[in-house]
């Protein structure tokens, strides 16, 4: 195929990617996002499927059967767990504005600078060869398609200016810079880039499926044809059987490895966490991504077997079957499409990986290093924002340049698969620190640091050293005799462990020491304040789902002006203004007036910076403008305890204020009751004085008459004096009644309870008024029921009641034709007494009033007859005290019937 055709196709495809990215960005800006949906999110996960998947799976299947599947079974198995693990990480990263794996780890362990740096360095070491691998795939595929299947010279020896891979690299650098570092804030989503990743994921799947269909149904007669032919081939028939020598354990390690890779590879972290728009999108990715893996692996074995059968003894690398099969069949269009498929798999990986690495490099290595240097910081503080963004762009260039150089020098010796797996093992070293960090509060910075370092060193020794030996950079004696001649320090039989393939072997040992150091040292270390806070936030992220709560406890002094200036340095005037405006909207504008920033503002600005330069650098930046007082763990615990106590106190206060409110209402009610009572009391006093005025008036009048008229007749004189005496008695009676009422009201009056026959009391009372009755010519009838039940009562008090009723009856019965009837009879649980007179009767409205202590209610027109005194009020009080009741049954011009009933003694 002509080189120019392939070149045109490649660069047209690249141009298309630019177009799509540009379109994606444009849509994002106008609010009609292309990528804000779960399908695009799920598709972006397939950045996992690189050229290694596209070309390498077939190669691996052709040499070792179904082994290749482990790389996809792992992610499939772990996908359901994403809902727990990945979602938690997403939550943490959104809250803490974390943008890379290095940032995640450094944030968790107290925003530690060294930890972030080491993770970054490891990622660079681990991933650059992997990127190189993609470049190699592009170069190799280009050479195959232009120079023919058997061409093995490839581009390795050609001068770089004549190397297509070099130009592709340059284009990718430009692309990544354009769409990956467009804004300075790393937490911003890169919609153009994600659109491209999603588009490429479809291209590579379609291309691979098409090749699969072509091989299976074009070159062969369906699947059964391929498999039956392969079964007859002695070399291929071995591949149907799983390797039993350590094969199972290898599967276990490979699955484990890919499980960790799918979550912690920088590019996976980028698409899954940073580019996540809604946490629930994860839900869709959890089944769509495994489905994609299933589809893309569907034809791997048919193509592998088909290639082997097709080429027979020809020296064609199985890694190239996807390309060489259609090429050898002269299917130009299909070959080109197959090439573009592989190209897309490689480019998407390169774009996302280099971008993720550049963020790591700029935020976790470059910035902290620069900021630690005070001279530099002071000199260039106004250019920090520019330095950051150009640092990022430059790092993309250098990362891809190093990858290109690696591709040109070392990688040619290595197969696609082993480079990928080596990279996986490097990344797996982050797993203990991350998983421990989000589930285990005790996980400590030192543990993470030593664990990762140990894992890194072992990874290098067990996997990289053999590779370097292979290319002749290191003496082979290390391989055979071990480091410094110690046989237990042989890279592939470390500590005497044999029987494992190199990758499983390296994974086992590196993870063993990594976890051992992490757990062991964490147990032995005490966390700093900052780390303690972060650990709490990470592990219990559900409690801190809003940004403001997850603030570091701040005890230092920071000036608002310094802080805002710092933010402006990084974000520029406009973005900084916008961010501060947002802050004001949330928390009010008071901060502008205060020279010293409060915790809220400090935390907010630190997070804002963290989203741009990473947590550790942000911490450095803030610390440099604020005098942060070191506070001890004890103090923090104290603060936490105090804040908890405050919260408790607050709740108690709230409860108390509620109680107070109720009490207040009760008091108000009581007060109203008091006012009413007071009013009643006044009424009572005015009633009593009123009552007293009447006899007093008579006494005075008659006394004056007697004094002014010495010539009075003797009988007149006597009559007037008698009247004065009667009125005096009336006064005395009144005074006694008032005192009685007072005694009852104040509770001083006690009943002297005895077992009584009410008839006896009635008889006694009648006897004592007998004379008056006779004097007034009143006809008294008595009608007592015999064998009345006994009652419990105070004889003197009940006597007082009966006498009062009798004297009223005498007073009000018809003069000269008076008639009084006294009856007693039994009711079920009471004895009842009635005193009936033939007076004028009492109006219904007065029936209640006459038992009151007062003449009249001021607002009512009805009034108690004058001179009725307090007798009935006292009678009512006494009967009430006996648990009885008293009432009047009367109508004007009819007999008046006063009744009371008392409870009998229950037998």
């Amino acid at each position: 195929m002509s080189t120019s055709l392939v070149l045109i196709a490649s660069f047209t495809y690249l141009a298309l990617l630019f177009l799509i990215a540009w379109w994606g960005e444009k849509r994002a800006k106008s609010g009609k996002s292309l990528v804000n949906n779960p399908y695009v999110y799920a598709l972006s996960f397939t950045v996992f499927c690189t050229a290694w998947t596209y070309y390498g799976s077939v190669g691996r299947a052709a040499t070792s059967g179904v082994d290749f599947l482990t790389t996809y079974i792992g992610p499939t198995l772990v996908a359901p767990l994403w809902w727990l693990v990945l979602r938690k990480i997403i939550q943490i990263c959104k809250v803490q504005r974390i943008t890379t794996i290095a940032d995640l780890i450094s944030s968790r362990y107290g925003k530690n600078v060294s930890l972030g740096g080491i993770v970054t360095i490891m990622s660079l070491f681990g991933i650059i060869p992997y990127i190189a691998l993609q470049l190699k795939a592009i170069a190799t595929s280009f050479n195959i398609i232009t120079e023919g299947v058997s061409s093995n010279t490839l581009g390795n020896t050609s001068f770089f200016l004549q190397d297509t891979a070099f130009y592709v690299t340059i284009v990718l650098v430009v692309f990544t810079i354009l769409f990956g570092t467009r804004t300075i804030i790393a937490t911003d989503r890169h919609e153009g880039m994600v659109s491209v990743i999603a588009f490429e994921s479809i291209i590579k799947l379609l291309a691979f499926l098409l090749i699969g269909v072509f091989v299976t149904f074009g070159l062969f007669d369906g699947l059964s044809d391929i498999f039956s032919k392969a079964a007859q081939n002695p070399e291929l028939s071995k591949l149907f059987i799983m390797d039993d020598r350590g094969g199972n354990i290898k599967w276990l390690y490979m699955c484990l490895l890919s499980m960790l890779a799918i979550m912690f590879l920088p590019r996976q972290f980028q698409v899954a966490v940073v580019e996540n728009a809604r946490p629930w999108h994860l839900n869709r990715a959890m089944w769509m991504f495994p489905l994609y893996l299933l589809l893309i692996n569907l034809f791997v074995i048919p193509i592998a077997f088909g290639g082997k059968l097709f080429f027979g003894d020809q020296p064609v690398d199985a890694d190239t079957f996807v390309l060489s099969l259609p090429l050898s069949s002269n299917q130009t269009g299909l070959t080109l499409f197959a090439f573009i498929g592989g190209f897309s798999a490689a480019t998407s990986m390169i774009i996302v990986s280099s971008m993720a690495l550049s963020f790591m490099f700029s935020n976790n290595l470059l910035m902290p290093l620069l900021l630690l240097n005070n001279r530099f910081k002071n000199r260039y503080q106004h250019q920090l924002g520019n330095i950051l963004i150009y640092g990022r762009r430059l790092s993309i260039f250098f990362i891809l340049l190093f990858a290109y150089i690696y591709n040109k020098t070392i990688s040619s010796q290595y197969s696609l698969v082993s480079t990928g797996l080596t990279s996986f093992v490097a990344i797996a070293q982050f797993a203990p620190a991350i998983l421990g960090g989000i589930y285990w509060k005790q996980g400590h910075k030192n543990g993470a640091l030593v664990g990762i370092l140990a894992g890194f060193v072992l990874w290098f020794f067990l996997l990289i050293v053999p590779a370097l030996i292979e290319v002749g950079l290191i003496d082979a004696s290390v391989q055979q005799q071990g480091l410094w001649g110690a046989s237990w320090l042989r890279p592939q039989q470390f500590l005497g462990l044999t029987n494992l393939d190199p990758i499983s072997h390296a994974l086992f040992w590196s993870m063993f020491f990594n976890i051992l150091c992490y757990v062991g040292i964490s147990y032995l270390s005490r966390a700093s304040v900052e780390e303690h806070t972060q650990a709490e936030i990470f592990v219990n992220i559900h409690k801190y789902s809003n940004l403001e709560e997850s603030g570091m406890i701040w005890t230092g002094i920071a000036y608002t002006a310094d802080l805002t200036k710092t933010v402006v340095n990084f974000l520029g005037e406009e973005r900084a203004q916008q961010a501060l405006e947002e802050f004001s909207q949330k928390f009010g504008h008071q901060w502008k007036k205060k020279p010293q920033a409060d915790t809220q503002l400090v935390t907010y600005l630190e997070r804002l910076l963290a989203s741009t330069i990473g947590a550790a650098a942000a911490r450095l930046m803030i610390a440099s403008v604020a005098s942060d007082e070191e506070i001890s763990n004890q103090e923090v615990l104290q603060l936490v305890r105090e804040s908890q106590e405050l919260k408790l106190l607050n709740e108690q206060l709230k409860k108390q204020s509620e109680e107070l409110e109720t009490t207040g209402e009760q008091l108000k009610e009581a007060n109203q009751q008091l006012i009413k009572t007071d009013h009643l009391k006044n009424e009572f006093i005015s009633t009593v004085t009123h009552e007293m005025r009447t006899p007093l008036t008579s006494i005075r009048a008659f006394s004056e008459i007697l004094a002014d008229n010495p010539d009075l007749e003797e009988d007149e004189k006597v009559h007037f004096l008698e009247t004065i005496i009667k009125e005096t008695n009336r006064m005395e009676r009144l005074i006694n009644q008032v005192l009685d009422l007072e005694r009852f009201a104040s509770g001083q009056q006690r009943l002297n309870l005895q077992t009584l026959d009410i008839n006896k009391i009635l008889q006694e009372a009648i006897d004592s008024v007998q004379q008056v009755i006779q004097e007034n010519n009143i006809n008294l009838k008595v009608n007592f029921a015999s064998d009345l039940a006994l009652i419990s009562g105070d004889a003197d008090r009940l006597m007082q009641v009966v006498l009062n009723l009798l004297s009223n009856a005498i007073k009000f019965s018809k003069s000269n034709a008076g008639e009084i009837t006294v009856t007693s009879f039994q009711e079920v649980a009471f004895v009842r007494v009635e005193v009936i007179d033939n007076g004028k009767g009492i109006k219904k409205e007065l029936h209640q009033l006459i038992f009151e202590k007062f003449y009249q209610d001021e607002d009512q027109n009805i009034r108690k007859p004058k001179g009725s005194g307090l007798g009935l009020a006292i009678s009512k009080t006494i009967i009430d005290y006996h648990q009885g009741s008293i009432w009047v049954d009367s109508e004007p011009e009819k007999p008046t019937k006063f009744c009371f009933r008392l409870p009998i003694i229950s037998t």
Binding site: R693, T694, L696, T697, S698, R700, I705
Partner: protein, 121 residues
């Protein structure tokens, strides 16, 4: 001989005032409640009414208003004689046209003087 009506529901008041008025040579009429008093006023048209306020049914205020609102009767002088001592009660009494207001317990001497004055005026 001037006619004086005494209205009170307290027998001893009636007794004492009747004695005093008769001694002064007035023709004395007596009513025990408001309704009786109004009948008596229409019937006898006394020159002076000594009027208690607090009586059952028709009270003294009503009786006074009855007198002062009737052109044929309003020349009748009204002296309130009551246990109601509050300023607003006295005010009310004056408002509805009473000619004098005396509170219980009262001085018989003052009362007699007042009656004499009112009759002369």
């Amino acid at each position: 001989m001037s006619k004086v009506l005494i209205v009170d529901d307290e027998p001893n008041i009636l007794l004492s005032l009747e004695f005093l008025m008769k001694k002064q040579g007035y023709k004395v009429y007596i009513a025990r409640d408001g309704a009786e008093a109004m009948d008596m006023i229409k019937e006898q048209e006394p020159e002076v009414v000594v009027l208690d306020i607090m009586m059952p049914e028709v009270d003294g205020y009503e009786v006074c208003s009855f007198i002062k609102n009737d052109d044929g009767l309003k020349h009748i002088k009204v002296i309130f004689l009551t246990a109601k001592t509050k300023p607003e009660d006295i005010e009310k009494g004056k408002e509805i046209g009473a000619d004098a207001y005396m509170t219980k317990p009262f001085s018989t001497r003052n009362l007699m003087k007042k009656v004499k004055e009112i009759l002369v005026a």
